[in-house]
Symmetry: C2
Subunit: 147 residues, 2 copies
């Protein structure tokens, strides 16, 4: 499943999401799905599919970042619930989902993975989401790449 000793982003993750920024060796990417405000975090470490494959310090940092972004997303998007998960049954490269959920969204109250088809964001939707997260990310790092 892995073919390199250097980190290469899985092409399916790349196709499905936009790179916002990289913090502490972890890519923060916005999934291209208008249905849900949805980030994935991808540690830039080769050959890793589970959180426990990372060094302890690294997994702690990645999860702390996911939790912090979850708190920001709840506030910025007025979400009813935040779902944080590492599933990876299809795309094995480790990625952590942080999803803002609403009682009115199409998958509620079930999980979002494998439900329906992604609806690509319009440029306007994309920029609104990125703008909503910009200040949060701005606290932590330089401007997101996609602005």
């Amino acid at each position: 499943m892995f073919t390199s000793d250097t980190f290469d982003l899985d092409p399916r993750l790349e196709a499905d999401s936009f790179h916002m920024t990289t913090m502490d060796g972890c890519q923060i990417r916005l999934m291209n799905d208008a249905r849900f405000p949805w980030l994935i975090l991808v540690p830039e470490v080769a050959n890793v599919s589970e959180l426990f494959d990372l060094p302890h310090e690294k997994s702690t940092k990645v999860m702390a970042l996911a939790i912090k972004l979850g708190a920001e997303m709840r506030q910025k998007f007025g979400a009813d619930k935040i779902n944080i998960a590492t599933i990876g049954n299809v795309v094995k490269q480790l990625h952590i989902h942080v999803v803002a959920r609403f009682e009115t969204d199409e998958a509620w109250p079930g999980p979002i993975w494998g439900v329906g088809k992604p609806i690509p964001m319009t440029d306007d939707e994309k920029h609104k989401r990125i703008h909503s997260l910009h200040m949060s990310l701005g606290h932590m790092t330089a401007s997101p790449d996609v602005l």
Copy 2:
């Protein structure tokens, strides 16, 4: 949704799982579903539904425990993948799922939540699972309650 300042386990979580042990103020419970080796971790903190509602130190500890148990479950059960998630759209009380997944399980490669109906374990299945995790938990604490 919450009615008390003291921690009370949500009755749905209680009905669906067995208490194995409590570590560092976090219940480790085995879900009563023969289809998947499946733990939930429930921090004994009142009025908490999100990881970011916990003090930072506490959320770090809970996630470190989930990751450690995930590693043990992969090994003990020979799992193809470990899924770690906090969803909580239905039962709001914070609980973290740690699930051993197999390419042959009935929900693969989708997530397990909301898929099909739980199949209660036989006593034999229950004891086998608990026994498989016993040594792992034994490294960390006293014997699980349900042995």
